[in-house]
């Protein structure tokens, strides 16, 4: 089985493979932020901070302890989720711009802490040993991304997901329906942070070298861009946004130093012509029902 995977990977050239892995990690990160910002409506500008928690936890575990990689990733995710919940408890009482600034501040503080800790090797950063697993990294990443996508679509159509959307739409009405908004926001924040932590762990082992400066403000904005570009609250949107933005720097490489210019212009055009994102406001279930001509009212369940 493992040999088959390795053979398959040898067929693809390393450059393409690297882009595909970047896309996989971007999808995990974007779906995590999508749950917080797109579904629950809580603007977070510090998603990269949770990624860094996962990345450093995972790297340190790989250096000092020889855990199986799956367990390593789980611990990285749980650490990020735990700190996410801890931070979320006070700051999720804030709304809108205030929350955005608080998350931004937290991310900057965390970066400075990591730049000064011995265990993270200060500003020199950490070299990460190869992951302790037989399965090739691309497959690990695709598997985690796939599980994330499935889990997210489960959330969207559940009592939990509906509660989150209710909070996004109207927090006062949500509470009047018996929804404990603070608790649900905290849970969404923890799940989003968990995914960021797992994504960070994968990132650390793919890049093999991590530095606190890799997880700055720009990284958070990159992830937010993916979610906004695809369409806030849409799973296919987040996947599309992550795929496009994770590969855009490579596609635009022929323009050399002008590529950031084009990238910026593309974003501006998008916001003008499609302010809800590429797939924002598109309901796929309803679209499919419409196409096959079955858009009839649901009947009462027995």
């Amino acid at each position: 089985m493992v040999e088959m995977m390795q053979n398959l990977i040898d067929q693809i050239d390393p450059y393409t493979l690297q882009i595909l892995m970047n896309i996989g990690i971007a999808i995990i990160m974007a779906l995590g932020l999508n749950l917080i910002t797109g579904v629950t409506g809580q603007l977070s500008l510090g998603h990269a901070a949770f990624m860094s928690i996962g990345a450093f936890t995972s790297a340190i575990l790989s250096i000092h302890y020889n855990l199986p990689f799956s367990l390593n990733l789980l611990v990285a995710g749980l650490t990020a989720a735990f700190i996410g919940a801890l931070i979320g408890f006070p700051i999720l009482r804030l709304t809108g711009d205030y929350l955005a600034i608080a998350t931004l501040g937290f991310a900057e503080i965390l970066k400075v802490i990591f730049l000064n800790l011995n265990i993270t090797n200060k500003a020199l950063g950490l070299s990460v040993p190869p992951p302790n697993t037989d399965i090739p990294m691309p497959f690990v990443i695709f598997f985690v991304a796939l599980v994330t996508i499935i889990f997210m679509s489960f959330i969207h159509n559940s009592r939990f997901g509906r509660s989150l959307m209710a909070i996004r739409e109207d927090e006062i009405a949500a509470e009047a329906m018996g929804i404990n908004a603070t608790r649900y926001k905290l849970q969404a924040f923890a799940v989003g942070s968990f995914l960021a932590g797992v994504g960070g762990g994968l990132y650390a082992h793919v890049i093999a070298y991590i530095n606190p400066s890799d997880f700055g403000f720009m990284k958070s904005i990159d992830i937010l861009n993916m979610v906004v570009l695809g369409g806030l609250g849409s799973i296919p949107g987040a996947i599309l946004g992550a795929s496009v933005l994770a590969s855009a720097p490579e596609f635009l490489r022929f323009m050399q130093q002008y590529r950031m210019l084009v990238y910026g212009a593309l974003l501006v055009f998008l916001m003008v012509f499609r302010p809800n994102g590429l797939l924002g406001g598109v309901n796929f279930t309803r679209l499919v029902l419409k196409i096959i001509g079955k858009n009839k009212p649901a009947r009462a369940a027995k």
Partner: protein, 256 residues
């Protein structure tokens, strides 16, 4: 024994005394109306009951349990559902999702339920919520709109959807904040019948309304509020002829 009782409830916003020493009791099974000029404090009373505000003084009892100062979601779980004066629907969600969210307190699976989506326990939980949701949509005659987005409904139907969503909470007490506002005479007539049917199901109704014809048409008891003070309470005939009420609405000198 009353279902809802307010004892000497006051609330101050800075120097403004919005509600002053209000005593009110709503009996089980009745339709109780609260009327009064604009700014009299009617919606403030609703916000006090549903936990959005905490009274500065006084107590509120629901089912003989003190509820003042409790969180809104806690009060909803106890069995008080409400609608809002300026519609608060979940606009970008479908009609069905709106009502399913209303049925929130009847479900029990949270985050773990999303992971165990296809297990029989979670599915039966979802079926229960769906059944409740469809039941309340039927009561408000909205079953043919389930897949529409709430924001795309006409105004009158949005008002009815708010009531359907509140019914899905399975309330003992339903608070309606100006349910007939902005409706045409025909829509008001339909709404009046629906409110009576809801009461027939054993749900007590407490409503704020400006439309006197509507209020007089369905209320068992009417309380009148003016400048945060209760100035009258009684049957519709008593209220209609009460000089204090006429003065509050029409000004001094209107009574001869």
């Amino acid at each position: 024994m009353s279902l809802l009782r307010m004892e000497d409830v006051s609330i101050r916003f800075g120097g403004l005394l919005a509600v002053y020493n209000v005593n009110l009791s709503v009996q089980p099974g009745e339709i109780h109306s609260l009327i009064g000029p604009n700014g009299a404090g009617k919606s403030t009373i609703f916000n006090l009951i549903t936990g959005i505000y905490k009274p500065s003084e006084g107590h509120i009892y629901f089912d003989e349990k003190r509820i003042e100062g409790k969180k809104p979601y806690h009060i909803a779980a106890l069995g008080i559902a409400r609608t809002f004066q300026n519609i608060h629907l979940f606009n970008d969600l479908t009609v069905l999702d709106n009502v399913l969210i209303g049925a929130h307190t009847s479900g029990k699976w949270d985050l773990t339920g999303s992971l165990l989506k296809f297990t029989p326990w979670v599915r039966s939980d979802e079926r229960k919520l769906k059944f409740l949701a469809m039941e309340s949509l039927e009561a408000m005659e909205l079953t043919d709109k389930t897949n529409e987005l709430a924001k795309n409904l006409p105004y009158g139907e949005q008002r009815r959807l708010e009531i359907a969503r509140a019914l899905a909470v399975k309330p003992k007490l339903l608070l309606l904040d100006e349910p007939a506002a902005g409706m045409n005479p025909h829509e008001k007539q339909v709404l009046m019948e629906m409110v009576k049917i809801i009461r027939g199901k054993g749900i007590t109704i407490f409503l704020v309304e400006h439309d006197m014809k509507f209020v007089m048409g369905i209320s068992d008891q009417i309380a009148v509020l003016d400048y945060g003070v209760k100035i009258a309470e009684g049957l519709s005939e008593e209220i209609r002829t009460n000089p204090k009420v006429i003065e509050a609405y029409l000004g001094k000198g209107a009574v001869h």
